[in-house]
Symmetry: C3
Subunit: 399 residues, 3 copies
Amino acid sequence: MTSCNASVHRLGNHKGVAIVSRHCFHRTAIMGVTDAEFTAAKDRVGTLTQDPGNEVKLKMYALFKQVTVGKCNAPKPGAFDFVGKAKWSAWNDLGDMTKDDARQKYVDVVDDLVANDPGAQASAPAAATASQSDTAGSSVGGYENLKVSVDRGVCTIMMNRPKKKNALNRETYEEIIKALDSSGKDDSVVFSVLTGAGDFYSGGNDLNNFMSITPDTMKQAAREGGELLQRFVAAFIDFPKPLVAAVNGPAVGIPVTSLALCDVVYATDRATFHTPFSSLGQSPEACSSYLFPQIMGQAKANEVLLFGRKLTAQEAYDRGLVTEVFPDATFQQEIEKKFNEFAKLPRQSLRLSKNLIRGAEREKLHQVNKEECELLEERWTSEECIQAIMDFFASKSKL
Amino acid sequence: MTSCNASVHRLGNHKGVAIVSRHCFHRTAIMGVTDAEFTAAKDRVGTLTQDPGNEVKLKMYALFKQVTVGKCNAPKPGAFDFVGKAKWSAWNDLGDMTKDDARQKYVDVVDDLVANDPGAQASAPAAATASQSDTAGSSVGGYENLKVSVDRGVCTIMMNRPKKKNALNRETYEEIIKALDSSGKDDSVVFSVLTGAGDFYSGGNDLNNFMSITPDTMKQAAREGGELLQRFVAAFIDFPKPLVAAVNGPAVGIPVTSLALCDVVYATDRATFHTPFSSLGQSPEACSSYLFPQIMGQAKANEVLLFGRKLTAQEAYDRGLVTEVFPDATFQQEIEKKFNEFAKLPRQSLRLSKNLIRGAEREKLHQVNKEECELLEERWTSEECIQAIMDFFASKSKL
Amino acid sequence: MTSCNASVHRLGNHKGVAIVSRHCFHRTAIMGVTDAEFTAAKDRVGTLTQDPGNEVKLKMYALFKQVTVGKCNAPKPGAFDFVGKAKWSAWNDLGDMTKDDARQKYVDVVDDLVANDPGAQASAPAAATASQSDTAGSSVGGYENLKVSVDRGVCTIMMNRPKKKNALNRETYEEIIKALDSSGKDDSVVFSVLTGAGDFYSGGNDLNNFMSITPDTMKQAAREGGELLQRFVAAFIDFPKPLVAAVNGPAVGIPVTSLALCDVVYATDRATFHTPFSSLGQSPEACSSYLFPQIMGQAKANEVLLFGRKLTAQEAYDRGLVTEVFPDATFQQEIEKKFNEFAKLPRQSLRLSKNLIRGAEREKLHQVNKEECELLEERWTSEECIQAIMDFFASKSKL
C-alpha cells in the first residue's frame, strides 16, 4: 500500500477526497501495483456500501479476469445466459491488455470507489457479522456460507452472506442440510434456531444458480436442482427437535415457505414475506402448497402462493405463519429471553412431542415435497420460467 | 298503450298519480287491451322495486294463467307443494273468466302497481345488469341464468337472476357447471371469476326446486338433486385454473360453502355469509364439512355449520373464508385492478401451481363431496327437512 | 356442641374472637369432645376460605388418621411418593396418642381456623354449588364428581370438585366417559355442554393420580393411565351430538386440549388456557398434536404444545380455539340464550351434520389418540417426568 493511499484513508470521507484520490491514482498508475495491492483492493470491494452500478461492475469483472486468467479464452455463453454473455463481452473486449495494465486499472477503480464511499473500509475488511458473533457461544467450524454456534443448548444456524441478502446458492443449501443434520444429532443441542446475518433474513434462491445453465445442460441442471431442493426440504421435515425461525428481516421465496416447516417463528416488525413464484414462472415448494392452506385457509394462502402477495410481519402473524412479532429494536433481546427459558425444558419431552406432532403429517409432507420438486424440475426447463428469469435479470441489471 | 297511460308515465311519482291512474284504468278497461299491451305490462312487472305482496302476486299469477292457458286444467298439486296449492287455488277460483277479461284485469293491476311504485319503469325495461355488462369484454352466448364474458384473460361468470337474488335453480346449477368446464378449457382464459348481478351474490339453493316434488316423486327427485349437486361441487374441485369469487353482496347456503373451493375470495363490506342448514333440516355441502374446520378451526366452523351463525364480511375475513374485504363503493375498481395484474402472470405457472395445491386434497374432497351428497339425499326425504321447508314458506309467504 | 362453641359462632368474625375462641378451646379440651363434635368439625373444614398452610394441614391429617385408624400402621410410601411420605411421617410422629386426645386436638385446630376465617361457616356447610344447581333442570344421579342435569334438550355435564379446581382424578375421568355415553344415547338430549363448578373450568389431570405409584407399580399404573386416557379421549371423538364447552374459568392441561374435540367453545373473559406438558416432562394428548396445528397453524400451536405458552381468552379466540368470548358478568346469560336457540333446531340434522363433520377425521383422530397415549405411557415412567412432577410438588407444597 503506498503512502498516498494511506493518506487518502486518513482523510476520510468529505467531498474533496475524491479529487485527491483521483489525482493520486494517476501517480500510482505510473509506479505499478503489486499483487498484494491487487489482493487488498479486491478485499476492499467487499466493504463498499454503495452499489457502483452495472457498468463499473462489468468493467471490474473483465479486469479481474484479465489479471487472473489473461486474454479471454472462455466459450461464448449459452443462449439463455443473459448476464453471462454481458460479462463475457466485457472481458473479450479487453483483447490483449497485459495483466499488469489490468491489475493497475483494477486497483484504480477500487480506490476511486472506496474514496467516494463514506461507509467503505480503507484496508482489509473485518467480518461483517463480527458484532453478532460476539454474542454467540462456541462456534462450529466447517461452514463457508453459514455461521453455526452452540450456546447453552441452543444451536444457532445463521445464513451468513449478508452482502447477498443471505441468498441461497447451492453451497448454502448443502450447508444448511449439514447444519440441521449435525445439530439434530448433537446431544448438547436442545433446539435449533435458523436466522440471517445482517438486515435480511434471506433473499431466497440465488438466481445466479440459473446462470451457468446452457440449453445443453438445462435438463441435467434441473434434475440436480430438484434433487437438492428435495433433500433440503426433507432436512426440515425430519429435523428431530424443535426448530425455531428468528426472522430478522425481509424473506423471499423458500425462506418464507420453509417457515411452515419450522415449529415456532419469531419475526422482527421489519420482516416482510414474499413468494413471487408465479411471476418467475415457478411453483410453490417446501410443502407450502399443502401447509399454507392449512395454516391460513385457502383464500389467504392462494393469494400468497398463486398471486404473490407480499405480507408484512403483522399480516404474516394474522395469517398464522408467524408466532409473534417484536419491535426491531428489542427483537434480539426478546427472543434470547425466550430461548433461555425454552432451553431449560426437559429435552426428551421436547424431542418426543415434536416428533409426535410432526409424525401425524410426516408421510404426507414427504409426498408433497416430492411432487413439488417434480413440478419445479419441469418448470425450470419451461419457456415461461426461462423467459421470466431473463426478464428479471434484464429489469434488474439493465444490461 | 293509450294516451292515458302515457300521461300517467309523464306525471311520474307524486301521490296524486295513483288516483289518476286508477281512474284511468276504468276508462281503459272499457276499451279493451291488446296482446301487445298485455306483453308490455308483463315486462313492466320486472321493473317494480316494491314487493306487491302475496295476495296481489297470487292474483296476477292466476290472471296470467287464465290469459295464456284459459280455465284451470292443472291437477291439484301434491301434499307437500304448499305454495303450488295456493297458486292452483287462485287460478281455479277464476273459473270460466274469459281470456279478454283476464288480460284486461292483469294490465289494470300492473298499471296500478307501476303508478304507485316510484322506481318502476313506465315502458319496456332495460336489462337490470346493463351497466355491469358494459364493462365486460366479449360476451359468451348459450346461458339463460348467467352472464358469461371473457376479457383480457379473465372469464367472468355472473349469476344473473338479480330479481331472484341470484338463487340457484336447477338450470343455473347446470349452467355454472358448463361455464366452469368451458372456461377451464378455453386457452384464452387465465383464470375465472364467479360473481353475482345486482345487490346479491346469491341467495343459494332456490327452494322452489322443492316445490314440484310430490310424495311419489320425492325419492327420485332427491336422487337427481344429489347427483346434480355432486357434479356441481366436482366442477369446483376440478376447475384447472385459479378460481376467484367476487362476493358482491349477501350470500346464503351453497354460494357460501363453495367459497372454500375457490382459490381467492374478495368481498364487498356489504356481503354477509349465512348457512342455515340445520334450521332447514339439512346438512353442509360443497366440502364445507371438511374445509370449514380446516379454514376456521372447528370451534368457529361448527358454529357456522351446525348452528347457522351468519357472518359479516369482516367476520368471514377474520375466520379466513375471505381473502380481502373492500368498501362497497370501490369494490369493483379494486378487484379489477387486481385482476388486471393477475392476468399478466405466466399462465402455465398459475395453472400448474393451482393443481399442485388442489392435488394434495383432491381425492379427499371428492370423497367428502360424495358423502355430503348422500347425506343430503337422505335429508331431503326426511320429515324434519320437509317440515322445515314448509315452515319456511309458510312464514315467508304468509300464504 | 357446647354452649361455648355456640357463643363463638354468634360472636362472628372480629379480631377479638380468636382470643375468646382460643380461651374457650382450653376449657373445652378439659371437657372432651364427642364423635358428633368431631364430625361437625370435619365438615366445617370444607367451609374454610383461607388455606391454613401445609404445616397445619399435615397436622390435621395426622390427627384425623389417629382418630379414625389409631396408631400409624401404614407401610412407608414408595420412593416417588413425595407428599405421601410427608403425610406418613406426620401420622407416625403421633406415636401412641389416644384417639380421644387426637379428636380433641383436631377439633381445637378446626375451631381455631374457623374463628380466624371470616368466610368460614360456623356449622354444617351448604353445598358449594347450590346456587348453580338451582338453575338446572332435572338432575341425573349416579355421579360423585360431576353434576349432570338435563333441561329442555340440553345436558349439562358440570365438573364438580370446585375446591380442587375441578381437577380430574381417575373417578372424574370415568364419570365424564359415562356422562358423555349416557347423554349421547338419551333421546331427550339435543346436545351436551361441558362446564365446571365454581371459578375454575378445570385444573386438569389431578397430579395426586401419580402419588400412589411406587417403582414396583409404575409400569402397570402407566399402562392403566394410558388406557383410561385413551377411552376418555375416544368418548369425545365419538360423541354423536354437538358438544359445547362452556369454559367458565381457567383451564389447564387436558381440559384445554380436549376443547379441540368439542364442536363449539364459549369462554368467559376470565378464562386462561395453559398446557404445561413439556415442563412436566410429558407430551400433548386429546389429539391436540394433530388438531392444534390445524386450528392455529403450526407456528402458534407449537408455542403452546412445546413451549407451554399460556393463552388468555382473547388469544385463544384469535387462535381459533374458542368460538366466542363473553364478559364474565354476562357469560351464563349469553350462553343460555344461545343454548335455548340451538335446542330448537332439528335434532336429526344436528346429529347427522355433526357426524358428517367428524367423519372426515374420525379414523385419523383415533389413530392419533392411540399414538399420543402410547407416548404418554412411556413418558410417565421416564426419569424426566418423575423428576418434573417431584419438582412440581416440592415447589408447590414446600413439604
